[in-house]
Amino acid sequence: MAVRYTIIPYLFLVLTSFLVLFPILTIVYQSALSAPLYEPAASVTFKKYIEVLSEPKFRMILFNTFMISIIAVIVSIGIGVFTAILVERTDIPFKNFVRIAMIMPLVMPVIVAAVAWTLMFGRNGYITVLLKTLIGFAPWDINTLPGVGLVIGLYYVPYVFLFASSSLSLSNPELEDTARACGAGVTRIILKIVLPLLKPVIFYSGLLIFVISVEQLAIPLILGSPYGVEVLMTYLYEISIRSGLRDWPASAVIAVMILCITSILVFILNKQVGAEKRYISVGGKAIRPNLVSLGAWRIPLFIIVFVYALLTMILPILGIVLRTFTKVFSPLINPLYVLTLSNFDFLTYSEYLMSIPNTIIVAAIGATIGAIYAFYNSSSANRSQIIGRTFLKHISLYPRSMPGLVLGMGFLWMFLLIPPLQLIRNTLLALIIAYIARYIPYGYTTITPAMIRISPELDGAARVSGATWSYVQRKILLPLLKPAMFATWTLLFITFLREYSVAIFLYLPQTRVLGVTILEFWNQGEFGPIAALSLIQLAITFTAFVILQKILKVRVYG
């Protein structure tokens, strides 16, 4: 007779717990040691905590982190909610263009966005210099604390836009019609009816933006760090990677601090909304008449949105393209005189060249394993009777609060702590495992709502007619979840293509991915290759995005 009880759910309970908890516990353990954890001389002490926390610089960094995150929240909520109302509730022209313009920044990997913004709007950026020569000054400076907050906020506008517009499209317009019938004007309707109804969404997305701003590395690193604006994540990067100090206990203490902040916020976040609704999908909407006629404001408001798109998407991408193909990138020199392909020269080094296929391989294999993992993880948590399945549900959502950099660090130390795993570390598998662990919540929350909608009677009928638990998963649930599986795969694939922070601690020369190569050149201050790499990454991501959207007809944002 076959295996009496299936072990798969237990396997995934153990595996997920291990992938999530082990790196964290390793970090916590390291933070309480006097020396790197592989040294036998390391003893337990809390000295490092006192040392790090009492540093005036640390308090400053904590302040910066909070301020930047708050600015990012205000910016993204303000623009995101405003444009969502414009699209969902007014007669603004070219709605589809506006919608795409609001969502597009998601296609741009964050590290590419950071590079592009620097190239165009940084202190020595193209537009900044152009304005300085034209009108004598630049009205902005993004290499400051508010500037970093602003850019992070702008980058995450699409999230708020998606949340708010989906909530608006689902909410009943009759509520507003009634207010209008009572004699309320446009402004009053928006202030008294529309916005209060959006309150939960605003609160939720505000909290989410705050968390991901705290976890943000690339933007503060590229925009802020060189000009003295440090946040927790850049500080961690600085002392663990760039300084070469290898003060592991200090790194661990900072990582623990970051985890404390993000864990509390994510805990509130999970309380706020049912976990399954985390990544809302944008469904089809019923056609109905526009509520508010903008009248004379139609065109000016559209122009504002257009300028927004110009500033956040079109100009930065243009900047990357121009920088890639020029020797010198300045408004003072006609780019046509300095055209070059030499910025691609670094590709003659196979180590750098390999970062292109590496990125694609990690994303493709990672997404495949990740999607299957997500399926079994979710069915173990939702379709089995095992003890600990509630725990599995919670633990599957927890990595939400783990910044990639921190998780990568945990994995590195885990590999060092368990010698047999060293072999994995030399291959792309190390990255794949860490990526999958970091994005367990993505997979879980994409597949679970679909799984819950399938009646458990379908499993029950199959079990009673003689199928084992795992056979039921394979032959009944998996085929029925095909669309959700494709969606999960696509989401993970696009996410993995853009991911870099998890790899920072883990990569070796032969396992570079595009993002970390960009960071390496950044540390060397070579902008030509950075732009070229950014362009390559942008091209790959964009192509994948378009193809998958066309073929699978699934939405890949969120």
Binding site: R4, E457, G460, A461, R463, V464, S465, G466, A467, I476
Partner: protein
């Protein structure tokens, strides 16, 4: 003895968190018989069924089919559903939407590693049995509700299990089809001579289909018996009210007669004679139960008033139902109780004085709860 191949459920309990779903359920069904678990929603009937199927694991108790132990918590035995060799049909039919009718029915056969030709033969036979010929290649969504229900049945019996579990299989059908489906289902069951546990909240269904009915509420079985026993001699208040909506009047036993007959006193002037399955004695408090349709209503007359088992009252409400009148009668008792009466006779409008006569065979006397 036939029951050796029957189903035995004993001391079955299951709780979900703090909620007690079933609490000490016991019953026995002989091979080839139909037992219906009848009760309102949330009474624990489906949980009991799922425990028999093995989809739920009880907290205590044991279940045996013949000499095969399905579950025995005290001995730490639990056989997973796939090894119990039983069939199940859910309320939703649970047809796998990505498989054709043929694949749905062949699924359990493929699991049992039958030859391809044997699978085809068996599927063909069962489709014939279910009047589903020619639908092999359809997908579930292309079938009517009645066809889906029969495909689900076909899938449940195609591997000839000894026990068939049916969870409200008719409740999603149109009222008209449901009437014929009841009789068809009963015929089918007798044709293939299979033991059936049937779950429903519909007492008509239970009456037509069952050899035994177990009336459940709050996770317990309140009465178990043949449809006739359940209907004619409800053992307690819940069964009396749930089955057929009896009138219930509080009373006191005033005389114990032979053959389980008793005389009850509603008040000094009103006595009723009836039957009880419980052992009662004089001056015990009790409940008198009788059904609206078992009352003979007539206009008031002094002589008839004197006959046994006759109560006096006034029409409070009269509703015309087409084939009968539905009356609310206020009894001429001290506490002015209201009873329901259905009769094809029109005794007059509101405020008419009437007499109600109930034969003593139709009066059930229940212990007071």
């Amino acid at each position: 003895m036939a029951s050796e191949r029957g189903l035995l459920v004993s001391g079955l309990s299951k709780r979900f968190g703090k909620v007690v779903a079933i609490d000490g359920v016991n019953f026995k069904v002989e091979q080839g018989k139909v037992l219906t678990l009848l009760g309102p929603s949330g009474c624990g009937k489906t949980t009991t069924l799922l425990c028999i199927a093995g989809i739920e694991k009880p907290d205590s108790g044991k279940i045996l089919l013949g000499d095969k132990v399905f579950v025995d918590i005290s001995k730490n035995i639990y056989i997973p559903p796939e090894r119990r060799e039983i069939g199940i049909v859910f309320q939703s039919y649970a047809l796998w939407p990505h498989m054709t009718v043929f694949d749905n029915i062949a699924f359990p056969l493929k699991l049992r590693k039958y030859e391809k030709s044997e699978i085809r033969r068996r599927v063909k036979n069962v489709l014939e049995l279910m009047n589903l010929e020619g639908l092999e290649d359809r997908y579930p969504y292309q079938l009517s509700g009645g066809q889906q229900q029969r495909v689900a049945l076909a899938r449940a019996v195609v591997y000839e299990p000894q026990l068939l579990l049916l969870d409200e299989p008719l409740s999603n059908l149109d009222a008209k089809i449901r009437d014929t489906a009841r009789f068809w289902l009963r015929e089918l069951q007798q044709k293939i001579n299979i033991t059936v546990i049937y779950v429903t909240h519909d007492q008509m269904e239970a009456m037509v289909l069952s050899d035994l009915i177990a009336v459940m509420n709050d996770g317990r079985i309140f009465q178990i018996g043949t449809p006739k026993e359940i209907y004619e001699s409800p053992a307690n208040r819940f069964v009396a009210e749930f089955i057929g909506g009896s009138n219930l009047l509080p009373a006191v036993i005033s005389e114990v007669l032979e053959d389980n007959y008793y005389v009850c006193m509603l008040d000094e002037d009103n006595l009723l004679c009836g039957r009880s399955t419980a052992n009662l004695s004089k001056r015990d408090r009790c409940l008198v139960a009788f059904r609206p349709m078992n009352v003979t209503i007539s206009s008031y007359s002094e002589t008839r008033r004197q006959t046994m088992n006759t109560l006096e009252g006034v029409v409070n409400k009269r509703v015309y139902l087409g084939d009968a009148y539905d009356y609310r009668i206020i009894l001429n008792t001290k506490d002015l109780r209201t009873v329901r009466v259905t009769s094809s006779l029109d005794v007059g409008p509101e405020n008419t004085r009437v007499l109600l006569h109930i034969m003593r065979e139709h009066v059930s006397i229940l212990p007071y709860e």
